[in-house]
């Protein structure tokens, strides 16, 4: 009897022990954060960003920190921690902020993502600081702070912008006598010609849900105009708006006519960027951050990439000159930092004429401050993009940035689900339900 009892207990115990790994990972998250990486001690100033080691911005931030640390009057040691990939970046950042620790300066997306930090009082209100330095404030391009301001308070300093154009391979387009489409009908025609000649029309993937969502946001805006999304942003809109269902149908139509590569559900951002970079697809709808990649030395399409506006839809309410875009790289200061002055110094270095010019000329970025650029140095694609954007009439923001991680990411998954075969009505119905559940 006793023997049987022990065996049974050991069985249960084994189960609980095995399970613990899962639960421990969850419950512990707040405790584990306390000790690590907190700033302030011994005059260290910590900066977090999400850059990869091979990115231009990575090298730049390392250089800035190095320059500062080498200075004689440096009162702290600047240290940049890079946490590549937002999937890892935000959880780490949030855990540390929750413990009232964390970096003195960090990078954040705009709008909804930033608002969470502002609302909970985790980041510094920068309005006074900006007003105290009118020269600095004036240097930014007009509207630069729009998506970084809540209740008339500025919470972040933009360092670069990103927009989503339609990149196309000029060589392929010339070969088949095509011109960049301006309407959906023309686009379908272009797709048909490319298909008939065995060329993949779009470098497109849905393994990472945001890449397919980004494409669909362009479609949704061209069909329904700005209103449906603006209403969702202020909490009065609905995903059951006919323009969203139609967006789902358009995505399906494009998939069914072969506009996307085979197996696109398994292609991530790197895969599709490489696909376009290697000249294996004719078009690419992606953020302007891809300019650095397609113009890199190892790119087979270097110098052959054209930029166009996303086509309009017949009867659609969206304008050809409305762009999807945002301040893409914004610096914020943690509310209770002990290194406010040094933090400001670091941020001001980023928005200096010198660094902004470098970002634009060497990385093809859209600068956040007004700078005079040397036309010969800026990549041709970036110049073409700026030309296309000069007629801009309006701008809307990435859904997952605007609506925040919860609803925004759920939208991304919804588009993925539709592309994987779920009926658009059904998919948007559950997104609507989710949105209702998560309203504040």
């Amino acid at each position: 009897m006793a023997k049987g009892y022990w065996k049974k207990s050991i069985g249960v115990l084994t189960g609980v022990l095995l399970l613990s790994s899962v639960l421990a990972g969850c419950g512990n998250s707040s405790e584990s954060a306390t000790g690590s990486g907190s700033a302030g001690a011994k005059g260290e100033m910590v900066i977090y960003d999400w850059q990869n080691a091979d990115s231009f911005v990575y090298k730049m931030s390392e250089q800035l920190a190095k320059d500062y640390n080498a200075r004689k009057d440096a009162t702290t040691t600047m240290k940049v921690q890079h946490i590549p990939g937002t999937d890892r970046y935000y959880p780490k950042l949030n855990a540390e902020l929750a413990a009232n620790a964390g970096p003195d300066v960090f990078v954040s997306h705009a709008a909804g993502k930033l608002k969470t930090y502002a609302d909970s009082g985790r980041i510094m209100d920068l309005t006074e600081i900006l007003n105290a330095d009118p020269e600095w404030k004036k240097s930014f391009t007009s509207g630069a702070f729009n998506l970084l301001t809540f209740d008339d308070k500025v919470y972040a300093i933009p360092t670069a912008f990103a927009t989503v154009p339609l990149f196309y391979n000029k060589e392929i387009f010339a070969k088949y006598n095509l011109t960049p489409p301006t309407t959906y009908e023309e686009l379908k025609n272009v797709i048909k010609v490319l298909k008939d000649n065995g060329v993949t029309p779009f470098a497109f993937g849905a393994k990472e849900s945001w890449t397919s969502a980004l494409f669909s946001e362009m479609v949704a805006n061209r069909i329904g105009g700005d209103e449906p999304f603006n209403k969702l942003m202020d909490g009065t809109g609905s995903w059951m708006d006919p323009s969203y269902i139609q967006t789902g149908n358009v995505m399906n139509e494009l998939r069914d006519m072969g506009a996307f590569p085979s197996g696109f559900l398994g292609l991530d951002n790197t895969a599709i960027t490489n696909m376009f970079k290697n000249g294996e697809a004719a078009m690419f709808v992606m953020g302007s951050w891809a300019v650095g990649s397609v113009e890199a030395a190892d790119s087979k399409v270097k110098g052959k990439v054209g930029v166009a506006k996303f086509p309009t839809f017949e009867g659609g309410k969206g304008d050809l000159d409305t762009w999807l875009g945002q301040p893409s790289y914004n610096l914020v200061i943690r509310a209770n930092t002990e290194n406010k002055d040094q933090a400001l110094e670091y941020i001001k270095a980023w928005t200096s004429n010198d660094i902004q010019t470098k970002l634009a000329e060497e990385n093809g970025d859209i600068p956040a401050v007004n700078v005079k650029l040397n036309k010969d140095k800026v990549p041709a694609v970036a110049q073409e993009l700026q030309k296309e954007m000069s007629d801009m009439k309006g701008m809307f923001i990435f859904y997952d940035v605007g609506l925040g991680a919860k609803i925004g990411d759920e939208y991304n998954t919804t588009i993925q689900a539709i592309l994987a075969g779920q009926a658009p009505e059904e998919a948007f119905q559950s997104l609507e339900q989710f949105t209702q559940d998560n309203k504040e």
Partner: protein
């Protein structure tokens, strides 16, 4: 020594370190998870008490939750079939009279010692629709119509992942069975043979009943392992396409750490805990008669 171990305070002294550790890293987090599951909380904003809302949402409005449960059942089924069936069969063959036992044993056990990330990457390449071995193999065999985009098609993805899980842990189950079979005293088989039992009869009437305790342990291990499974799903599909390969552990990870719904993630983990406990109790009931006397 014996007398010292009868002393109650000595027992407590020896148990204390393990107990404290266990409390700190298992018990407290479990209790904390249960507590947090009644809140809406993204870690940085203030916590908001919402009662049972996380649970009602899960059971009434969350289709991904049910997809995860379904996927866990697929995983459990495939793991049981591959690991129990094939694992036992291999154990019988290896403990039988074949050459190169050690060699086979090591070969089959090998996947269990490779890191799951490496296993996941390797199989992602094998399943790759363009450069993958599997589609190439089907092509060579003249069955290219069966070629598929294994990991990104919703109807094959979960089965493809489950197969790899079974493959990885097959050797583990096999080793346990080998140990159990080798533990059976040789004279029992001898007398069985004298009584006229040969071949599969021995397996059916002698080996299976005698390894029953191990069968119970492996069933519990496989069941709990499948229910709380995370790593290969995370590496191979990340729960995609469109949540179609999500299991509860990967789903709660995504909700907690990608979408910052820590309260909801905790509620999911509480359900996972309950499922594992219920499964363990059920299996114990099924294998009730478990002590074997030789």
């Amino acid at each position: 020594m014996e007398r010292m171990l009868r002393n109650k305070s000595a027992i407590i002294l020896f148990l204390l370190p393990a107990l404290l550790l266990y409390t700190a890293i298992v018990f407290i987090p479990i209790v904390a998870s249960i507590y947090f599951s009644f809140f809406k909380w993204d870690v940085i904003s203030p916590m908001k008490f919402i009662g049972m809302d996380n649970y009602t949402r899960m059971f009434t409005r969350d289709s991904v939750f049910f997809t995860s449960i379904k996927n866990m059942m697929i995983l459990l089924f495939v793991s049981l079939v591959i690991q129990q069936g094939l694992g036992f069969l291999l154990a019988i063959l290896i403990t039988g009279s074949i050459k190169g036992k050690e060699w086979f044993k090591n070969i089959f056990f090998f996947p269990a010692v490779i890191s799951s990330v490496a296993v996941g990457m390797m199989w992602s390449f094998i399943y790759n629709p363009e450069i993958g071995m599997l589609n190439k193999l089907l092509d060579v065999l003249g069955m290219s119509s069966l070629a598929n985009d294994w990991l990104s098609q919703p109807d094959t993805a979960m089965w493809a992942v489950s197969f790899v899980v079974g493959w990885q842990y097959l050797g583990y189950t096999m080793i346990l069975y080998i140990a159990a079979i080798q533990n059976i005293p040789a004279h029992i088989f001898e007398s069985a043979r004298i009584d006229g039992a040969v071949g599969w009869k021995v397996v059916w009437h002698m080996t299976i009943p005698l390894v029953q305790p191990i069968m119970k342990v492996t069933t519990i291990l496989i069941t709990i392992g499948s229910l709380k499974f995370f790593d290969l799903v995370f590496v191979m599909t990340g729960g995609g396409p469109a949540n179609q390969t999500q299991v509860l552990a990967s789903y709660l990870y995504g909700r907690s750490f990608r979408q910052f719904e820590y309260g909801y993630g905790d509620a999911l983990s509480v359900i996972l805990l309950l499922m594992c406990l219920v499964a363990t109790v059920l299996i114990n009931m099924i294998f009730r008669k478990s002590s074997i006397e030789y």
